[in-house]
């Protein structure tokens, strides 16, 4: 488990990053916390002749909260998310989810940007960001653009980000209502057998809005519009939850791995989603 030789760069600004990306194209990759990338390099599953460390590029480590949205810099770590009291007030689901990622050591290194840019279906934040309808800010030589999390993921490790673009921030509209993030895993530090993110609005006993996304149950995170829609206008009773779960099961496409076969994963996905909805609703 030794990576192949690589050149290491530590540019001081974004211009430096972009010019390196332009120069080396496919052969270059940026590194944030390194806690997905370095293991892949050690296993020689990722060959990165030119490694660009984002550590010294400023301006990507802030969490800004304004009247209607949150901006999280790409280099904000999972530990930062957990420790940020104001963030926990306005968007508690972020903290609840971050606490279920890996272990404290990994969370001190792993960044929000790396987690959402990685494109690994096992990562927890992509589904979370889809649930929250986040926008990813991408900066490239052609300038800046914004892509919805719900449109970002194409296949495992394939995203809408171009090779020469850097993800600089995540923008999230202030979430409303009750929330919950539930994850079943085999042990600390494991990716989900099934995980669900739910954000739900209760208007006098009736569900006014619901957003549901699932993790590690397809080769991308799954935002299940149909599952959310199944709850809207109901009292989130047993029948509505059943319909939502059925809709979600229609959207996911898990594959067998060491966690278990497809039938098991689907069953657990249903159970986890039900619990997530119930908990979110109880907080709504």
């Amino acid at each position: 488990m030794i990576p192949a030789a690589f050149e290491y760069y530590r540019p001081k600004d974004m211009a430096g990053v972009l010019s390196l990306l332009e120069q080396h194209g496919d052969d270059a990759r940026v590194m944030a916390g390194g806690h997905s990338l370095i293991p892949m390099m050690k296993l020689r599953m990722a060959e990165v002749p030119h490694l660009i460390d984002l550590q010294d590029v400023g301006g990507m480590s802030d969490i800004d909260i304004d009247a209607d949205s949150i901006r999280i810099g790409a280099m904000v770590t999972q530990a930062d998310i957990i420790d940020h009291a104001d963030l926990a007030d306005v968007a508690p689901i972020l903290r609840e989810a971050a606490l279920q990622i890996a272990d404290p050591q990994v969370r001190y290194m792993g960044t929000v940007g790396g987690n959402v840019a990685n494109g690994d279906p096992g990562n927890d934040m992509p589904g979370l960001m889809q649930c929250l309808d986040a926008q990813f800010t991408l900066v490239g030589s052609g300038g800046e653009r914004s892509v919805r999390a719900r449109a970002f993921y194409e296949a495992a490790y394939m995203t809408a980000r171009e090779d020469d673009e850097v993800l600089t921030a995540v923008k999230i509209p202030l979430p409303e209502g009750g929330y919950a993030y539930e994850k079943q895993k085999r042990k600390i530090g494991d990716y989900a057998t099934a995980a669900a993110a739910v954000q739900i609005v209760n208007d006098g006993g009736t569900c006014a809005a619901a957003s549901i996304a699932m993790t590690n149950l397809s080769d991308t995170p799954i935002y299940s519009e149909a599952a959310g829609a199944a709850l809207v206008g109901t009292s989130v009773d047993d029948a509505a939850i059943k319909t939502a779960v059925a809709a979600m099961l229609g959207d996911i496409d898990p594959s067998e791995d060491n966690r278990g076969p497809v039938a098991f994963k689907k069953h657990v996905a249903g159970v986890i989603l039900r619990r997530t909805i119930e908990r979110a609703w109880s907080r709504a």
């Binding site: 030789a5 020689r44 042990k187 990716y191 966690r259 098991f264 069953h267």
Partner: protein, 808 residues
């Protein structure tokens, strides 16, 4: 002279046996100041690493090393062809088989060593590995031992004669080219008769899955051949350094006095570091070839996929009883998957280890055991992962059979155990499969355990839970796991225990320094067990010098007396006994010196804590410290100067620690997630040397038991690919997954051990695995479950619930 210090204070000052002396090792371990093999750095040291086969069974048509030799920093690439002229392309295994050091024409398991790349550093070695081109030709892969015994595919052509006949193996006749041995114990015919005529017979087949000891530190070594003086120094993660020295000498032809083997600090072994690995041989050869020190250190994947696995036993049992539950007979057949080479680490006469302890803690008059060893395309090994030889398998087997029998009898499993326990007055007890249990008081331990956990209350709660579940009020079931185990440790008596002909005694050599401190060296080697702490305590009590004034040293074959190392909970039973015996020799000489100094007859002084006292005149004494000084510096007629002793201890019998465990578990039927609510562990390891260390050992052993029972496995697919080769999939529990353990004890000393100690490091693992497993199985008993195989990971628990129709 007036003695200001009370006897009590003098005892405290010794920090001898029975006190929770803090571990002296921990100061360096907790500060990152340990000295492990990978910390060793020598001038000009090179690094070696392996090209490993991705195929589980293939012929090697060609190995092209030319591109690798062009990689900057690569100095040499060794293949079997290079080792053959030295006769080192194969090496003997501990089980009497032989094993390829580097692939000789074919490979037999994924991850097998094919070529050894020697480079200036580990990075260059890794690049060199990528550049070696190996031309493989696929062969049919066999991962199932039952299929193996039927198959036309011959895994080991080297073990079939030219005329196609099958020569005997190291353990007698073989029935098929892929068959290794049949080993039996007990009385087959009587057992069959008893079973045929029994009132009740329960049967079960169970698979004890393949797993791996997975020590935190992987295996490795540094070999340094000094061409000027002809001496080879070999540092390594060896659980048995002296045995390694002898084996290296025998296979390399280097005279034993020219070989120095050093085991520095070792980061856990659990059986994984007992055997000899190709990395050791290749490093030695590479050092001889290059004239430079060569280091080899496995990475985690290398360790998991290629070094010694544990278990992989397919066990079929039949147990008979009267209607009242008195067990009358037991039959066990095992199909043992040994992988591509038989590299089990067992005493030579016991190819299935001490599996014949499988009658457990019960008075079973008739029994028969038969074990068939089989080759498959999996990694070799079969070591005792935190247990004495195959004892975990044996105890799992009997503790499951008891539960299955309880179901058949419709009887409470705790009561069934009580009815069948060997009674206190039956010890020493001769078991049907041959062992003589030294001492035990099982009923007392069992009653204490059940009372502490309020067993009846738990059963009542469980009954209510089942009602609630059926009424749709809860989706959680409750399991009560019971286990009562008897370990067999301390191998062992040289008359029947040897490894490759090396008798399994152990040793201790003590030197008392003139100022009253001491050094003791042993033939064992700690891998985290705390020997430097506990052995000093034994000595403190025996010779009356404070434990803090005694250095314990192990692991350097140039200085330590010969011994067989540490595994199988043998250190305290064997080397601990040697320590006490050597201490007594010191005391005997010291007594003569004290008598001379006190001007009385030898028999007129007696030992008291830290001094010799004139009988009947307690104010007249000489402390051990004073005696030590006199031993060196005073001319005493008829007594040689100095105060040293050595003892080689050949134990008269094994020791038999036992224990009673209870686990309470809640199981989420819909997700398969278990939640351990309570775990109670009562251990009886005889005399307790250091209660704190015992507790630590129990916690560690239980945690590894939890791992094995609930998820830890080395799984292969049909092509022989290891599916669990990293810690992502190989379950290593963290503090998060581990419950609070409640520990307890009774004390039943071993009658034949000088201090009555039995050993404890492995008991909790042996007893823990069936306890966790029984808890899972018990949760589903009311719904028709009799047995499901481990590991009980989420999906397998879910599957059990699903098959029992609990998902509606």
């Amino acid at each position: 002279m007036k003695d200001e210090v009370t006897r009590e204070e003098r005892l405290d000052n010794l920090k001898g046996m029975g006190c929770s002396r803090k571990r002296v090792e921990d100061a360096r371990f907790t500060q990152g100041k340990g000295n492990y093999v990978d910390d060793i750095k020598l001038d000009g040291m090179l690094f070696g690493d392996f090209v490993r086969t991705p195929y589980a069974h293939a012929r090697i048509k060609n190995i092209d090393t030319s591109a690798a030799m062009q990689v900057p920093g690569v100095l040499a690439v060794l293949t079997a062809a290079d080792l053959e002229p030295l006769g080192l392309h194969w090496m003997p295994t501990l089980a009497g088989d032989k094993q390829m050091v580097l692939a000789d024409g074919k490979v037999l398991f994924q991850g097998q060593e094919v070529a050894f790349v020697v480079a200036e550093d580990r990075y260059a070695a890794a690049d060199g590995i990528e550049a070696v081109e190996v031309d493989y030709e696929d062969l049919p892969v066999i991962v199932d031992p039952f299929e193996s015994l039927q198959s036309d595919v011959v895994l080991r052509e080297d073990l079939v004669a030219e005329d196609g006949s099958i020569p005997d193996g190291a353990h007698g006749p073989r029935t098929h080219p892929n068959h290794i041995f049949t080993w039996e114990a007990g009385d087959k015919q009587t057992t069959e008769e008893v079973l045929a005529n029994a009132e009740i017979v329960a049967e079960e087949s169970m698979y004890y899955h393949r797993t791996h000891p997975c020590p935190l530190e992987t295996c490795g070594c540094v070999a340094s051949m000094d061409k000027v003086n002809g001496k080879l120094t070999l540092w390594g993660t060896f659980q048995a350094p002296h045995a390694i020295r002898t084996v290296v000498s025998l296979i390399s032809g280097i005279e034993e006095h020219n070989i120095r083997v050093i085991s520095p600090d070792i980061g856990g072994g659990f059986g994984n570091k007992v055997g000899a690995y190709p990395g050791y041989v290749c490093s030695v050869v590479a050092s001889i070839v290059t004239g430079k020190p060569v280091k080899w250190i496995e990475d985690r994947m290398d360790n998991l996929i290629s070094t010694a696995f544990a278990r992989d036993y397919w066990m079929k049992g039949r147990i008979s009883a009267t209607k009242e539950g008195k067990i009358t007979g037991l039959h066990c057949h095992v199909t043992a998957d040994h992988g591509g080479f038989d590299a089990c680490a067992d005493p030579t006469k016991f190819p299935a280890g001490f599996m014949n302890i499988c009658t457990g803690s019960y008075d079973i008059p008739t029994a028969y055991l038969e074990v068939d060893g089989v080759y498959t395309n999996k990694a070799p090994g079969g070591v005792s992962y935190r247990c004495s030889f195959r004892v975990t398998e044996a105890v799992y087997f009997i503790e499951r059979m008891i539960e299955v029998l309880a179901i058949k009898l419709n009887m409470d499993a705790a009561e069934l155990r009580r009815v069948n326990f060997i009674r206190k007055e039956q010890f020493p007890y001769k078991a049907a499969l041959g062992w003589e249990y030294d001492s035990g008081d099982y009923h007392t331990a069992w009653d204490k355990a059940l009372k502490t956990v309020d067993y009846d209350g738990l059963r009542a709660e469980q009954a209510q839970r089942i009602e609630d579940f059926k009424a749709g009020k809860t989706r959680k079931l409750m399991g009560i796991g019971l286990s009562f185990f008897t370990e067999i440790v301390g191998a062992g008596p040289v008359k029947n225990c040897d490894i490759l002909g090396l008798g399994m005694f152990d040793s201790c050599e003590i030197r008392i320094h003139p100022t009253g401190s001491a050094i003791a060296r042993l033939g064992t080697i700690s891998q985290g067990q705390g020997h430097a702490t506990t052995f000093a305590q034994i000595l403190a009590s025996e010779i009356g010098l404070p434990a803090d004034s005694i250095t314990i040293e192990e692991g350097d074959t140039d200085t330590a007396p010969y011994g067989l190392g540490t595994y199988g909970s043998r250190s305290t039973p064997v080397a601990g006994a040697a320590t006490a015996m050597a201490g007594r020799k010191i005391r005997a000489k010291a007594q003569m010196i004290a008598a001379y100094l006190l001007e009385v007859h030898d028999n007129d002084v007696e030992f008291d804590v830290d001094r010799f006292v004139v009988k009947g005149a307690p104010e007249r004494f000489k402390t051990m410290k004073e005696v030590a000084f006199a031993a060196y510096n005073q001319a005493i007629p008829g007594i040689e100067p100095g105060l040293e002793a050595v003892s080689y201890y050949d134990p008269p019998n094994m020791t038999y620690p036992f224990g009673a465990y209870v686990c309470v578990m809640d199981i989420d039927v819909d997700t398969g997630v278990p939640d351990i609510r309570r775990f109670y562990a009562l251990d009886d390891c005889g005399t307790r040397i250091n209660p704190m260390i015992i507790e630590g050992q129990v916690h560690g052993g239980l945690t590894e038991a939890l791992a094995v029972a609930l998820g830890q496995e080395i799984a292969y697919d049909d092509m022989g690919n290891v599916k669990t080769g990293t810690l992502m999939d190989f379950f290593l529990p963290t503090a998060w997954e581990v419950p609070n353990y409640e520990t307890d004890y009774t004390v039943t000393p071993s009658p034949h051990h000088p201090i009555g100690a039995k050993g404890v490091g492995e008991s909790p693992h042996v007893g823990g695995v069936p306890c966790f497993s029984n808890a899972v199985q018990d949760a589903f008993r009311a719904f028709g479950n009799t047995h499901t195989n481990m590991p009980h990971d989420h999906w397998r628990i879910w599957k059990t619930a699903n098959e029992l129709g609990l998902h509606g």
